[in-house]
């Protein structure tokens, strides 16, 4: 049974590689992300710094209003040569001492501009391996641009405002998505064959799954993302 499957897979792969990429058969990945919460409730109830009375007031309302799905990035780790994503543009604005949006997913080669919409200076920088940069101080109305040529996670901070933080997920291809409010996402025109779907969440980290994408039609995949009420390192 297993051997039969393997033979079938091999055959499919040969057929797939023989087929021209331009006229590829394309399948669809229909995914669903579930957020699982409350892994470390105990700690959450009584964090040390709250006992001290020194903590930054927990922004309870804001937290509940946040759509956790909007903080999840989905992309395909290409197993085979994929069409190079077109050079595109994206924007990560700074407004009200926050980044907008806080999660940006772009394909490799994208140029992201960082316009300062606040009436104060910002100084955007990143230490991430995928792209290290420091845009320096610049005032309201000005912008700086960074071109991301390497896939990976780029976390962005502001030197002046220590609470500002955003993540740019530089996907290796144009197949990327963000789940909707219902946790569903769709990746269309995915080349058939074995594909690795990656889900990244700030706190939960990477979750990878390999799936078999049919030449036509769709395949379903679901991810459980464990998110702590208080997110933290790792």
């Amino acid at each position: 049974m297993c051997g039969m499957l393997r033979v079938f897979l091999l055959v499919s792969w040969i057929l797939y590689t023989m087929a021209s990429p331009a006229t590829s058969f394309a399948g669809e990945i229909q995914g669903r992300v579930s957020i699982i919460q409350g892994l470390t409730k105990e700690r959450v109830v009584l964090p040390t710094y709250q006992v001290r009375g020194m903590s930054v007031p927990a922004k309870q309302e804001e937290k509940t209003s946040i759509d956790e799905f909007s903080r999840v990035a989905v992309y395909l780790e290409l197993a085979a040569k994929a069409p190079a994503p077109e050079a595109s543009k994206a924007t990560l604005a700074q407004r009200n001492q926050r980044f907008e949006p806080e999660l940006l997913i772009v394909p490799v080669g994208t140029t992201v501009s960082f316009p300062n919409s606040d009436p104060i200076f910002h100084n955007i920088f990143s230490l991430s391996k995928a792209k290290q940069f420091d845009l320096g101080y610049y005032p309201a109305g000005e912008t700086r641009t960074v071109k991301f040529e390497k896939a990976g996670i780029v976390q962005v901070y502001c030197h002046i405002h220590t609470d500002m933080n955003a993540a740019i997920v530089v996907a290796p291809s144009a197949w990327h998505a963000q789940p909707g409010p219902d946790g569903k996402f769709v990746l269309r025109d995915v080349p058939g064959g074995t594909q690795e779907v990656v889900v990244w969440h700030k706190a939960a980290g990477f979750i990878r799954k390999k799936i078999q994408v049919p030449e036509s039609g769709s395949v379903e995949v679901s991810f459980d993302v464990p998110v702590l009420e208080k997110e933290g390192v790792r």
Binding site: T40, T48, Y49, V56, K63, S126, G205, G232, V233
Partner: protein, 552 residues
Amino acid sequence: MKRQLSLASRAFFFAFVPMGLTLGASFFAINKAVGGRIKGQLRLSLQRTERVLASRDAEYRQRSLLVLSAVAENSSLKAVIGLLREASDPKEQAQVHEMLADQLEGMNESLDYDLLLLENPQGKPVVGVVGASQARARLDSEPIESIAPDLLRVRGVLYEAVPVPINLGYENLGTLFLGKQFSLASWSEAGYAALWQEGKVILTTFPGDRREEVERQIQQRCGGGSEECEITVGGESYLTLAIQRESFGGRVRLLTFQSIDAAMSGFTKSFEGVFLGIGAGGLILVLLFSAFGARSIAKPLTKLIAQLQRSEQVDRFPTDLSTDYQAAEVNVLAKAFSRAAGAVRDSKQRLDEATEQFIETMAQTLDARDPYTAGHSDRVSANSTTLAEALGLPPEQVEIIRIGGKLHDIGKIGIPDAVLRKPGSLTPEEFALIKLHPQIGKRILEQVERFEEYLPIVELHHENHDGSGYPHGLKGEEIPFSVRIVHVVDVYDAITSDRAYRKAMTEERVWEIMMQGAGKEFDPAVVKAFLAILRQQKVLHEALEQVSLANA
């Protein structure tokens, strides 16, 4: 015999002992009371000091926390922590950890803490640096023991840490613990200090060999370390105070031990000096007053007693005691004694008079029976007295001789008249009867106790010096001296007076008999003295006669 205390000692004892005891007791009580008060004050001041220290400490911690929170608001630190989110394999993680450690050390250059520890929000240590600035080392997988919320033990060293939360927006990235090596030194400046955790001393400045003793005492006396109490370690008492310290939570207590003895010693020393001075002075004063008082009370009595003793020596009942003793009671006593002594003397005199009269009566009774011997007893008595005085006998002896002389022939009462009043010679039988009279006299007088001292004269006045007398034939020194005197005088009177059986002898004959009797009938010395008296009397008599003749 039971030893009797003198009046002065008694007065001294009862004056001094209660006063001394009262003084001592009040000294002790005051000492105790003042000691207790000092202790109370000391305790209050210690408590105040501890409170001030504790609140200052809390304030310092609060300020540290504020400062350190500001320091932790560091984008670079947060960015490095954020890198852990991108790290997809252990190698990358290790690199990030290295970066974090560098970052922490960089931060610490200005802060100079002994322990830096970053924990993730789950409370798991991520990276740590330990040690003083010279010898810092990375913490690897060593256990980090959490003694209390902010008290950590790493590599056997206690660190007191300030936990600084690191937040990114509303997210918590972890907690940074900035720790200083915990030291009890600042708490034990004036004594000792200890950390107490659930029945155990986990750190103390007491010497190691005292630790168990301290532990035991705290368990027994301090309600398991939660209450203020007093313990005694190595013979010294300490006031134990539990310091309120937030960072230790509920399980660990900081106890300080202040030596009460040491704190009190300075004060007590000066205080005791003053009190001992006052006490000793008071005691001496009491001693002097007691001694003086006792003397003053006893003095009049002592004086009275001395006077009585003097009177005793001269054998006289004092009826004229002085009444100037400076003490009313003693004066009254002396007066009463004088009156009583007077009464006794009077009654004794009356008794003596009665006795005298009785003796006189008895002598006269005899004289009445025998006219020939009338006046004999009186003459013997008078002459014997003269002789005894001349021989230098003591007055008592003379008095015995005087009365004995009156009574010496009383036994003749028991001799029949026929014999006693017979004129002419007596037959041997009659003479034998006569010879019984000394013993009869003795038997008569024996009945009266008072006459006992006259018995020898009555019984033995016919004994001769050479042992030829009767009734016992005693001789020489066997016969009492008083009897020898009466014997000489008796014989003299007998031969110089008329008797029923013969006439009185001539003077020459009398002298001759008396001279011849010396050494035979009489004691020679006594006869000699008697004859000397007679000669004197004769010379005197003749001189008087010539004077009266001349006058006539």
